[in-house]
Amino acid sequence: MKRRAPACAHAIGVWWGAPDAARYLVSSDFRRDHTTMFLKTALLVLRKDVAIEIRSYEILATTLFFAVGCVLVFAFALVKEGQAPPDAAAAILWIALLFAGTLALGRTFERERYGETIRALLLAPASRPALYVGKLLGILCLLGLTEMLLVPLVALLFSAPLLGHLNLLLPLLVCGTIGFAAVGTLFAAMLMRARTRDVMLPILLYPITIPVIIAGVRGTSALLASPPDEPTAMMWLAILVSFDVVFVTLSLWTFEPLMME
């Protein structure tokens, strides 16, 4: 409701024949102010989440160690006579990221639910998509830190030359994480009130993000091949980028009607 007030004021101004208001509405200044407001809100939500997290590092620490545990489980399951199967490193990296990301998503929104802050967030005169972007940025930061731990760890445990291909590996990881987190943040936000939220999130998220997994793992293993197959990796990167564009747009578009309840 409060969002509509400025538009109403502008509409009344226009009706009363205030040319300034009308000119403002169609100007690029309006668009710029609107965008600034949007970014400011998103960054504010991000700052809030980071501030809470810095006090105890609860989600970060537990997510990191879960990811490490995940990698170790896969290592013990797959390594035979000291050797892992050929493409295991790429697969394990992305699977560990997937599992850790799912848990992190659940727990970030659990915190909102537990503190009952979600109603305050929704009542604030902020555009809903900006709230979504703020949450998304928080998850991206968390998963980024997880990746910073996972990549060297996987490279070490599986003797995979991951660190030598960072010029393409980083874009793959960034785009893959954005795609996964974009869909995950939307679903996790919507599932906050459901009793079955813990298991429902993976059920919804995994089928839809399987193209991300395929592209990420295939792209990474193309980089790990000898000689590294950069064109293939770039093709998978292109697929990831288009996935990101489509699904971030869709999520921004549907966050508003979904959170209306």
Binding site: F187, M190, A194, T196, M200, I208, V246, F247, L250, M260
Partner: protein, 221 residues
């Protein structure tokens, strides 16, 4: 839609009664012989499934942004049909593959893609059943995302695996096979329309029942 029900039933029943005759009359395919006849039900089941995905996705968008309950009823009906026809395709596919390729499952691109989309719409039904308050809107988002992810699933799974011969089978069908194939395709699409009609009727009746309950509570209060 209600008065289409009887004619649809009659036509669909007649088509399915004739289908075995048409299928038996079709020529044998040279390398796969008898087992290839599964194709006359397998591919039309996929076509019905994709029709369902389009219907579910579009009505989900309408429900999300316009809030029309009729769109929600159409979406849930289409989702159930996607799961049904997808299951038919996913069972007939491996049965065909067991004979034609020697193994039940070979991560063939088409079957994998259908499995993924089936999972998305099973998730749709699970969300509606167990998702808690507001689950109809969340399910609509899942339906929309399911439709949106189809091209990505197609591209990524296709590049990931390609052994399925059917990408070009329809244009290069032997002339004798085209007739029965399109006949069965039409029969399945009519079956889809019929079942959709029926299921939407059920959903409408359920809505009416809920309204009656609410009216009773209001008059008692």
């Amino acid at each position: 839609m209600r008065n289409l029900f009887l004619p649809l039933t009659v036509v669909t029943a007649a088509m399915f009664a004739y289908a075995p005759v048409a299928i038996a009359g079709a020529p044998y395919e040279s390398t796969m012989l008898l087992i290839q006849k599964i194709f006359y039900f397998h591919v039309p089941a996929w076509m019905a499934m994709y029709a369902g995905i389009a219907v579910c996705g579009i009505s989900s968008v309408i429900y999300l942004f316009k809030g029309r309950p009729a769109a929600d009823r159409l979406a849930v009906s289409a989702a159930e049909l996607i799961v049904l026809f997808g299951a038919i395709g996913l069972v007939t596919g491996p049965l065909w593959g067991r004979k034609a390729w020697g193994v039940w499952w070979q991560w063939d691109a088409r079957l994998t893609m259908a499995l993924l989309l089936e999972l998305v719409f099973v998730a749709y039904l699970l969300v509606r059943a167990y998702g808690g308050p507001g689950s109809d809107k969340l399910a609509a988002a899942v339906g929309l995302f399911g439709l949106a992810v189809s091209p990505f699933v197609y591209v990524s799974v296709n590049i990931w695996r390609t052994i399925h011969p059917l990408n070009t089978v329809v244009p290069t069908l032997q002339p004798g096979m085209r007739g029965p194939f399109w006949f069965c395709a039409l029969a399945f699409l009519m079956l889809f329309a019929l079942l959709l009609n029926l299921r939407v009727y059920l959903a409408t009746e359920q809505t009416r029942l809920d309204e009656l309950y609410l009216a009773e509570e209001d008059s008692a209060a």
